[in-house]
Symmetry: D2
């Protein structure tokens, strides 16, 4: 019912924003994989808000593994893990008990379940994504052994974009507080964030992801194309509104003869308009895609809401919120990509 991802390498997550804990269960991770806990902690740190441009809740994000690992290696059995929730103030949300905030999941959860956890967004909170990062980092560790790496960075915040998205220097972005691969653009992004912060507003953005070293042959034909799996994974991240792969929307304006990725004699291609996937199946080139995120709707500005009877109320925000959540979404994009590739990698083993 929506809380499990994958067919072979499967992640089930659980937890509400202000419940006891969030966590997950990974099933199908092969036995004998040595888990690098500090790499997981590093990825979790990247998901945590920066003091400068985010004012979100700060959780220690301490992972406790309950099963599936012995002597540091996976057993092949389910890997369960839990992160206790600590730094939350449910009282901040008491006044929202019967309130639907615009463009949040308040009204839709109520419509779906007839009942909802109003505290901090409940299950719809991005707090849940912490479990994806734990599982995704384990998937990345599995993929590393296969020579596959997954990098991502921020290519747009508000209306500020990096000019070149073809030759991304991830060493730059990995060391940038905004995960921006270009120093000049980063400066402009910092400026617009500062301005937006002073206005009490928020910003969206775009994240680009590159999967390198991926063998040809991953992805299933027809409905479960690798591009379709990636699209689903990305559009399942909170606030995602758009996905494109290779040339994406720009390909609509190309002609067939310019779009064609002509082969080299080693079956690599001279161009990569396709973004590493042809007919839904990886061709061994870099898999390149981008995801657009809308700005967080809760800002420090008062906001017009309705209550359960439809009566309007102006609500002053009390909870914490991000000025721009896009930089800290980078590890989530990487994690979901890793889950997709690990799952398809294992699935492909059944066919050859």
């Amino acid at each position: 019912m929506g809380n499990t991802f994958g067919r072979i390498f499967r992640l089930t997550t659980f937890g509400e924003s202000h419940g006891a804990a969030v966590g997950g269960v990974i099933d199908g991770c092969p036995a004998g994989l040595h888990i690098n806990i500090s790499a997981i902690e590093q990825m979790l740190a990247q998901r945590r808000p920066s003091k400068d441009f985010e004012t979100s809740r700060s959780e220690p994000d301490k992972v406790r593994f309950l099963s599936g690992i012995m002597d540091g290696a996976t057993l092949g059995t389910p890997i369960a893990f839990v992160l206790e929730n600590q730094d939350y103030n449910s009282e901040d949300y008491e006044h929202l008990k019967d309130i639907f905030r615009p463009s949040h999941a308040d009204y839709t959860y109520q419509a779906k379940y007839g009942f909802r956890d109003h505290r901090g967004g409940g299950r719809s909170s991005a707090r849940e994504t912490v479990a994806r990062v734990v599982a995704g980092t384990i998937a990345m560790q599995f993929l590393e052994k296969q020579g596959i790496s997954i990098d991502a960075c921020v290519t747009q915040i508000g209306n500020i974009k990096t000019l070149d998205t073809q030759t991304i220097d991830f060493q730059v972005s990995d060391n940038s507080p905004l995960r921006c691969p270009d120093k000049d653009t980063e400066e402009q992004m910092m400026a617009i964030i500062a301005k937006t912060k002073s206005q009490g507003d928020s910003l969206g953005g775009v994240i680009a992801c590159v999967i390198s070293g991926c063998v040809a042959g991953l992805g299933e034909p027809v409905f479960d194309k690798l591009s379709a799996d990636l699209a689903k994974a990305m559009m399942g991240i909170p606030s995602a509104k758009g996905f494109e792969i290779g040339e994406g929307f720009a390909s609509a304006a190309m002609t067939g003869s310019t779009y064609a990725d002509v082969f080299n004699n080693d079956f690599s291609t001279k161009t990569n308009h396709s973004g590493g996937i042809q007919g839904g199946i990886s061709n061994g080139m870099d898999i390149r895609f981008s995801v657009a995120f809308h700005p967080v709707v809760t800002t420090s500005k008062p906001i017009e809401c309705v209550d359960g009877k439809g009566v309007s109320h102006i609500i002053e925000a009390k909870g914490r919120h991000d000025i721009c959540h896009v930089p800290r979404t980078v590890p989530i994009v990487q994690s979901m990509a890793a889950l997709v590739i690990a799952d398809n990698f294992l699935l492909q083993k059944t066919q050859n």
Copy 2:
């Protein structure tokens, strides 16, 4: 393994381009639904190439139902249907037996399976989508009874775009050979198609889809968001390279305060930047999304290919191909959308 779509309303398709037949099996369609065969035939006709700007193979697309229907109504048991392949010339493809065409699925299928049907693209051919249209039209008939309708049109061909995608007149597009909702734009599209045809090249484009009358509460939280399901469905259509919902990529440049869809007192919203889905769950407003398609890569121009040893060959196209396949992709977009909504509609019945 990639040939089944949906959890409750499930479609499995089969068939190669130049095999005996294509078809599908629908499982989970509720009993007692009266099937309108002529509506199916009408949708299939929309998927067939136009003489003017497409030179594709022309199949009669006669559907034969083998099971699951008695006295014109569904039995609740699997609905199997077959469309025999007739108008194909496998000889046209004999010279491609050991050839990988650029940006086709030739190389990737070979990498995946070690063996492939080289005739007309085999399973990777868009011929397969005929089965999606049959099943999707049945899903649309089921949804109609629930008051839900699904419309789609072409908003871009090459670099020609309709100016306004917010107020689409589907009566215009339904009667347009290009499925374009605006007469002026259609004229420009016709001109660019004519020019491209004369150059022996091809064009991509964008399709917009609107789902109206959809009840609030559809879609599952976290991984199976309704937006994620739609993204997967759309990116599984041949040549799809991008998906966006609501404001999509444009939302990245908005601020949180302008992005918010403020409620009316009846829980409808004053704006619909979200595109009818919030927190992954439908909110009762129109669900609006767009899909970008790259141009068909096979054109009448000679094309540089490689053989199984990596040696380059210039190949003259012999098979048929589309100048612009986007108009005939409209019923496929509608069909996949219908499968997603029918599936989520039935799934939601388990939770209330």
Copy 3:
């Protein structure tokens, strides 16, 4: 919705007893498997009624493959196949339109769907199992390449049982019209069948199955134990009422010290009380299980039925029926076992 079996090697079947056709779609069968059509026809012949002790409908059972096979080998894409229904007389069932026969699926299908195909049992007819045999034989051909074979025979008809079920001679049973592995028992079975035929009644029985050459390590822990998968497969065969593996029900009366299968030094075991599965996972020994089938309820005797209002009617049987359907159920047991093992074999490839 119940018409698909398996996770990797997946079969979806369709078709009503008196509809146009029955058939299926296999997804996930690896590419490059050469299909032996005559072996499929041979298995189908074993499923057909014998003139001597069965009076069932006789279909030619001619399989037509529609996809997934080229030049005699599988492509890795869905393998669809169809068997047209020919020898049926729907008129024989006209008088049953509003009648519920006891211990048939008439009432339960009506309760489930509110609507049913009353002709020959519709979807609940054992006619559907023909598709399982086609798919199961393909699975057997895949398993043969892995050194795995699946044999089955009849060990009980009515109250006549073979004395020894530990050392079955399948060469005898394969040549027996009753699929009985013991000539003396066969004779007694023939006698009881003749007597039952003269009384216009019918008989049930038990089938034993042995899977040899199965590698250790198949089956998943906890819910998807190999024994659980086999149980589900067998209990999904029409008229199955019991399943036991290894010592089965007799193991309840053993002590722990006598039940233990002590190892030889090559990890084979001195006894095989477990039936080749320990902790839900194959141990490399023969997998041995039995399935009990109730007698066919439609006989040539008049039968007390009710109509849709609950009023009783005595109905004279007009359709054809089996005196004892157990011998022709043998290939169905083998087929379902093959589907289970092929699926688990492929699944295990993801974990090592």
Copy 4:
């Protein structure tokens, strides 16, 4: 990969016998169900060993819910729960690190994963079933609201059987330490247990289960028959070796005319040979089935094992074990039955 059960009401379990904790995640439980914690604790108590005839490890089995419940009621989101492991002595198992015990999952897990948790059986331990009981009791609470109840009792221990399994008095069995529905039989069972205990051996047995109040129409045709789902659920319980429904194996010796369950005018049936399921779908009568369990193989007797090189060793048992685990398996049978019925109940809502 074997650790998830169900399609709509889904349980995923995790945990090794001597790991940090065992637990589970329930997805798909409808929102608004009030959870009776003390009923869960009561069922867990029934799964705990009795001092008299079991010498097993004694865990407090304190459940902690981490998510999915607010103010005592389900939210519709995943319900995660954890039971910390406390009373285990991994040192007792140190000598078994490189030892395969007969008829345990030691060798098969090693064969499957190439690596295993040797402590207390690891994942293959029946400790895992505690999570099934928590989830199953929640399923039972959901079913209670639909008027469906699930009872089970012990009808055989060793070679001692209750004479009448048709008219079970569950009030008697619920108050019996052996869960036996008949006082005389209980006495004989007690005697055989005492004798077996003095011999340092162990006993198997049979559990009967009755599901009452189940609406007609549950279960899916063909592969996912309700009987097949129940068989899979039961055969997935540790040490299960046989399953039968209604007349079960005895039906093989009946004739068709005696087997038929003739209807009353209210569509109930005069007999219930079918055990409440016809054509795989519930008919509204009591669903009756039995499950056979082999004796626990670890006893206090020395046991012949092999090490990883195949060399034999006589091992003295040090860990704790049950003389007869069948009585405490009763709540596990009920729990698995509840998961099956809840899942099928919700699934059926999609079809009408």
